[in-house]
Symmetry: C2
């Protein structure tokens, strides 16, 4: 694969015009859309309108006139189109962690009606916040959190399992589960499933209803480009939606929030997963982000985005192996069916604990923004690169690898300024 091949692939790319929807810094190749999506060009004006016109001029009237009160449902319907959920099944609200608390509480409450079901099962390598929330709920409900490896599935699904809680695409490795098969196995064992779509929504095709999943939550600010800390989303299969009292029973999830009655009466359906008043400015940003992904619908939608995503990650894998032979191990599965929209590498030769970190820093200094996730005894330090087909092309992939080659050849990772670990990202 050559630079010309990449240019040729870009020239033939039917999704290439989608890049015009975004404003990216000059000189940056952004491979971190799996952590924070880029700025939709429509967002500054739209958010400014929400600030100056809706808030400033409309004031309290905007709850009706600007549709603020409907935002969680309206945006939820947009998310639904990307994850195989029907209108009315999704709301955008709160954070991923908080939404997980709601649905995991609900799932546990249902499953533990059967006293022998005393386990919540998740992956040891799941995103930590998911494990922390599960730990808390298991403690409250007298259940046990059992951490497994992906390879333990489906064998671990015994009649003791109340809930199987998985992240569809692993944040570290980019490995993707077969949601349909695992859900079927969980149901066969009498367990409920909770899926975290943080690295799936807008990144890979998801078909929640078709997969017969039970509960799902996900993030608004990664592949959905909703802006820093944009509200998250929550979905519940309609067979469960009307049954639960989720514990964060705030006024916005009440059946009649403006009756101000002293007793809680949950709204029908997913509306009961709302709690308190939502951050309208951040929701406004989220809508701009969602619209950039939905703009792919006339061009083939998530299927077309997926096809390009796999081509981009294939190209990155191939070019890295071709141009940095022997330097890296591929952590992300090579098989398409098991790969999300990111590629993670570990060092074949782990010389110093901070070297992977320093390589990422050296790349960032060159304008190639990926990120680093530290390892432990069981998992290596990784270099993580997210590929968002909405705004990345094949020439970007070529250039990113070219910079990686330079960093390795010139041993830029030795520089002391690249070896001071910052707090964040």
């Amino acid at each position: 694969m050559t630079l010309d091949d990449c240019k040729c692939l870009d020239a033939q790319d039917p999704l290439a015009p989608l890049r015009d929807q975004f404003t990216l810094p000059d000189g940056v190749i952004y491979l971190d859309g799996n952590s924070l999506g880029v700025l939709p060009s429509a967002a500054p004006a739209r958010i400014a309108e929400a600030v100056s016109h809706e808030w400033g001029q409309g004031l309290i009237r905007s709850w009706n006139s600007a549709g603020w009160f409907d935002l969680p449902q309206r945006l939820g319907d947009k998310v639904g189109r990307l994850i195989g959920a029907a209108p009315g099944e999704v709301v955008c609200t709160d954070s991923t962690s908080i939404n997980l608390y709601k649905v995991l509480f609900a799932a546990i409450a249902q499953a533990k009606a059967d006293p022998k079901r005393r386990l919540v099962v998740s992956e040891r390598s799941n995103f930590p916040t998911d494990l922390y929330i599960a730990e808390s709920l298991c403690e409250s409900h007298g259940l046990q959190l059992k951490l497994i490896d992906a390879s333990d599935l489906p064998g671990v699904l015994t009649e003791e399992v109340a809930v199987l809680m998985l992240t569809h695409v692993n944040y570290r490795t980019g490995a993707m589960h077969d949601m349909t098969a695992i859900t079927a196995a969980a149901h066969a064992a009498g367990a409920l499933t909770v899926w975290d779509l943080a690295h799936s929504a807008g990144a890979v095709p998801v078909a929640l209803n078709e997969s017969n999943a039970d509960f799902a939550i996900g993030c608004g600010y990664k592949y959905l480009n909703g802006g820093p800390g944009a509200p998250a989303f929550v979905w519940v299969h309609t067979r469960h939606a009307g049954q639960f009292r989720q514990p964060l029973s705030g006024w916005w999830g009440h059946a009649a929030p403006f009756e101000f009655t002293p007793h809680y009466r949950p709204a029908p359906g997913v509306g009961r997963y709302l709690c308190g008043t939502q951050p309208i400015l951040s929701l406004t940003g989220l809508e701009c982000g969602l619209d950039t992904v939905l703009a792919a619908e006339p061009l083939g939608g998530m299927t077309a985005l997926r096809k390009k995503s796999l081509a981009l990650t294939d190209a990155f894998i191939n070019l890295t192996e071709q141009r940095c032979p022997g330097l890296f191990n591929l952590v992300t599965p090579r098989e398409h069916a098991q790969r999300g929209s990111q590629v993670c590498l570990s060092l074949a030769d782990q010389r110093t604990p901070t070297q992977a970190y320093a390589i990422v820093q050296a790349l960032i200094a060159r304008g190639v923004i990926g990120d680093y996730r530290g390892g432990d005894e069981q998992m290596p330090d990784i270099l993580r690169f997210g590929f968002t087909p909405l705004y990345l092309g094949f020439e970007d992939v070529w250039n990113a690898v070219e910079h990686l080659v330079q960093v390795m050849t010139l041993e830029e990772w030795r520089k002391s300024e690249f070896n001071q670990i910052n707090a964040v990202t």
Copy 2:
């Protein structure tokens, strides 16, 4: 009191220049800052910078370079200056309802170590979302929620009471509790206190540490002018701050969030009350709002704001009684020590169920924005007017009452368009 008196009071008002901090719609007298504060003039440019520069250009790097990761603490310290809390004791995060869930869970967990303490006590007229959250937690913890009237205090504080949960200034009536005295009574009975400051922060002086309160939460978008749905805040007395595992144990409340360890280890102090990633754009708006209130510090701060607030509400009460004699009952306490920063009226003669609503709508059509809260068997329908000394003057009060006189004299509330109840506020 005449229009000239009002103009004279405005001319002598040392806080009058603070109004220049805000952008208000032309022709509007805004008496709803207790529901949604107005737009700080600095906010559009500041939020635009966060959108275009921090998000658009800085991207993921802004977690460090733009200080996003410190926002909850940095803004929390600003809130702390307004509510008598020390630096490091407050964080801005999530919604009021969710923060209440965290602190009430923590308070219950501590209090129920004594098995005879099986009651959470609150006011029947408390803001409903507070009661809904308490209902949920009481159910989970096997406690009972006992609803009382304010006049039942302190007698109701028996050794069965685990937690006394009150809103400092009542959202409907504007009645204010004596936080110090009630907290002392609760402690004498062995109970913990949870205070909701939604209608207090930025509205009346609050001295949490001096009052020896236990837990407090409050709202960012009312008197703090943080913008629609701006994140809320949470405070915990340092004697409790390090003891609890609050149940919404997300990654941001972890002692070392970037170690990505599989087990939760709560951050020291109030940091553990953080959960998931926060909506940065809405937090940015909140900071602009906080700065408008802190701008009063060189002019006497909350003490000076309180003095003007009482003068404004006195003026409104007096003018209403003088110019609409016999038409309204004053629902808000006349006594200063018991009054928040709002005035609520009910109709002396309740002719039709929607008349109070229609009066509010007729006022809104005239540019006088207050709001309506429906009553029930125990509480009358009310017209609710919030007075924010940062941007209201005495001539505004005069003009508001003048419009009210006109609405009543011309019986504008009879018009059908003012009698169609909308969904919201």
